[in-house]
């Protein structure tokens, strides 16, 4: 209150001095001093209610279990149960397998396309850019549905095309290994163009002088690629690795639509397992414990990847 009074009296003072000139702000609560608080208020209040409160609440939930319809504090029970839960381990392993295989393949393809589009021989640059970027605007659910039909075991277009070159029917969704491959295909289709655009922007930001100087020094194309392009692109590259890693660790839409975690839990991911525990079995305490383990994993990996960059530069 004291502060408001001061502002108010300050205004009355101004009123007397600058007659009329500031009349529009006179007597109002919104002054250059109070305005920023009003401007951030909606964001801050919403974040308190819908982010901060849930984060704390789920932390507390992760130490509780349901006993006869009532929540009871149960210490680390949820966490000990988690560490003895084979299905949780399976979901961790699955998620990391997808991560380790999918991210490098995707980034390699994205980088190859970006370098190709960046080279001066390719005309119709924007046509290619738009085409490659198109999958990145699709809803993951829609993308998953398209591929569910494309990869149908008996009647799908992909198996039909493969049959033309005498490849036997691939059991995309009934074989544990192929189901993972199917998920990887959808993820790669959806995200390669997105990463390609990031790389392309990175390539365009490399100063021309670097290449010119290297040419004068007699460097060839390949040597320029390895000594200028690759090192200059490194920060962008790390950025895409971190983004893709975090995204894959949170994988949910694709396995939910395509496989529901099957067959034999081969595509059960951490978030899918969390969802099932929370909203199918309504075991909120256990699901919250899974959420906090996920936070820990994401935090550790991001920290490690960012430290890797920080140390070198």
């Amino acid at each position: 209150m004291a502060r408001l009074d001061k502002v108010e009296s300050g205004k009355h003072f101004k009123k007397r001095v600058l007659v009329g000139r500031l009349s529009k702000t006179n007597g109002k609560l919104v002054t250059p001093k109070t305005a920023p608080f009003i401007f951030i208020a909606p964001a801050v209040l919403l974040l308190f209610a819908f982010t901060l409160y849930p984060v704390i609440s789920s932390f507390l939930l992760s130490f509780q279990t349901l006993v006869e319809g009532e929540r009871v504090f149960s210490g680390l029970d949820n966490y000990t149960r988690l560490f003895h839960d084979p299905l949780f381990y399976q979901s961790l392993i699955n998620t990391f397998q997808l991560l380790i295989v999918q991210v490098p393949i995707m980034l390699f393809i994205a980088l190859t396309i970006a370098v190709t589009l960046h080279s001066p021989i390719v005309k119709m640059n924007s046509f290619f850019r738009i085409s490659f970027f198109m999958p990145a605007i699709t809803a993951l659910v829609a993308a998953s549905i398209i591929f569910m039909i494309l990869l149908d075991e008996n009647y799908g277009l992909v198996n039909y095309v493969l049959s033309l070159i005498r490849v036997e029917k691939i059991p995309w969704f009934s074989d544990p290994l192929w189901a993972k491959v199917a998920i990887i295909i959808v993820m790669t289709w959806r995200w390669t163009g997105y990463n390609m655009i990031i790389f392309l922007a990175g390539l365009q930001n490399i100063p021309h002088e670097l290449y010119e100087a290297a040419s004068i020094d007699g460097a060839g194309k390949i040597s320029k690629f390895f000594h200028i392009t690759i090192p200059q692109l490194k920060p962008i590259f790390i950025f895409t690795v971190v983004l893709s890693t975090i995204g894959t660790l949170q994988l949910f839409d694709e396995p939910f639509i395509l496989t529901e975690g099957g067959p034999n839990n081969a595509t059960m991911t951490i978030t899918l397992y969390l969802y099932l525990n929370g909203f199918k079995y309504f075991d909120f305490g256990y699901a919250s414990a899974i959420a906090y383990v996920l936070v820990l994993i994401i935090g550790m990996i991001s920290w490690f990847q960012l430290k890797l960059v920080g140390d070198r530069d």
């Binding site: 000139r21 920023p36 951030i40 801050v44 984060v55 080279s119 494309l150 930001n205 994401i298």
Partner: protein
């Protein structure tokens, strides 16, 4: 320099790119085609490559099985309301962080950056409980509110707002404009390109958002497009014509939008992470 590239080189490069293009946009074409055929024909061998005449029938059966018109309306209403409000909230907060000196500014902003790192999975269950206790299940508010303050949007707006010259704001103050008027008429007007990019980012997020609406909406007349599509798969007899049309309807508006506003779209979706 030019003649280093032989014809063979060019052929190899262009075929590589062309295969990439077919893989990237082929599925879209196939989806459009599928939307115009009855369910049984989608798996014809050899595959259908030309549009059929079953589009209207597919839409009618989609309307009968799901109430598709209401679902499109739900998706549009939720995404548009969210985009307008969230962009405004981001702009207001971003403006305050960029252009004002106030107590605790840097601390509050740092806290905000920390919330970007929080994965949504952590908030899912308490938010669900909160909505249950507010009796907000199956409401638009329940879908819209939790993400309305989008920390990344605020961050982007703050970065962009820094470029507004202080003298412009000062001049308006001297002319007697109130703080709200300065924000709505001067700040927002000069920030139009940045607002467009942030708005596109937010619209895409909400239009494609799946897990939260899936959790919070369980009555089919409130479904958004992605949730409705996923419910089609769960049905006893999956109708592929309907499924393809549903996927088309959820993709087409954004695709058209994208072809018109490519630049803003790309910078919006990349979240301004890279200067283009």
């Amino acid at each position: 320099m030019r003649n280093q590239y032989s014809l063979l080189n060019k052929i190899v490069i262009y075929s590589f790119l062309l295969i990439g293009v077919i893989i990237s946009i082929g599925p879209f074409y196939w989806m459009f085609i599928g939307a115009t055929h009855p369910s049984g024909e989608i798996f014809n061998i050899p595959p259908q490559l030309l549009p059929g005449d079953y589009l209207v029938e597919n839409f009618i059966s989609l309307q009968e099985s799901l109430g598709m018109l209401k679902i499109i309306w739900n998706s549009l209403f939720i995404a548009l309301t969210f985009t307008v409000l969230s962009t405004l909230i981001s702009a207001a907060a971003g403006y305050a962080f960029a252009k004002f000196q106030f107590k605790g500014r840097d601390k509050i902003f740092f806290m905000l950056l920390l919330t970007i790192m929080i994965p949504y999975q952590v908030t899912l269950i308490p938010l669900f409980e909160l909505m249950v206790s507010l009796e907000w299940l199956n409401t638009y508010s329940a879908v819209i509110l939790p993400n309305l303050a989008f920390p990344f949007g605020i961050y982007l707006m703050r970065q962009n707002m820094k470029s507004i010259p202080d003298s412009l704001i000062e001049a308006a103050r001297i002319d007697g404009a109130g703080e709200f008027r300065i924000f709505f008429t001067i700040v927002l007007a000069t920030m139009r390109p940045a607002l467009a990019a942030v708005a596109i980012f937010l619209f895409m997020f909400q239009w494609n958002n799946f897990i939260w609406p899936l959790v919070i909406l369980n009555s089919s007349e409130m479904f958004t497009l992605p949730v409705a599509l996923s419910s089609l798969i769960g049905m006893a007899r999956v109708d592929y014509g309907q499924l393809m049309l549903g996927a088309t309807l959820s993709t087409l508006p954004i695709m058209i939008f994208f072809l018109i506003l490519q630049k803003q779209f790309i910078s919006g979706i990349l979240g301004g992470s890279v200067k283009e």
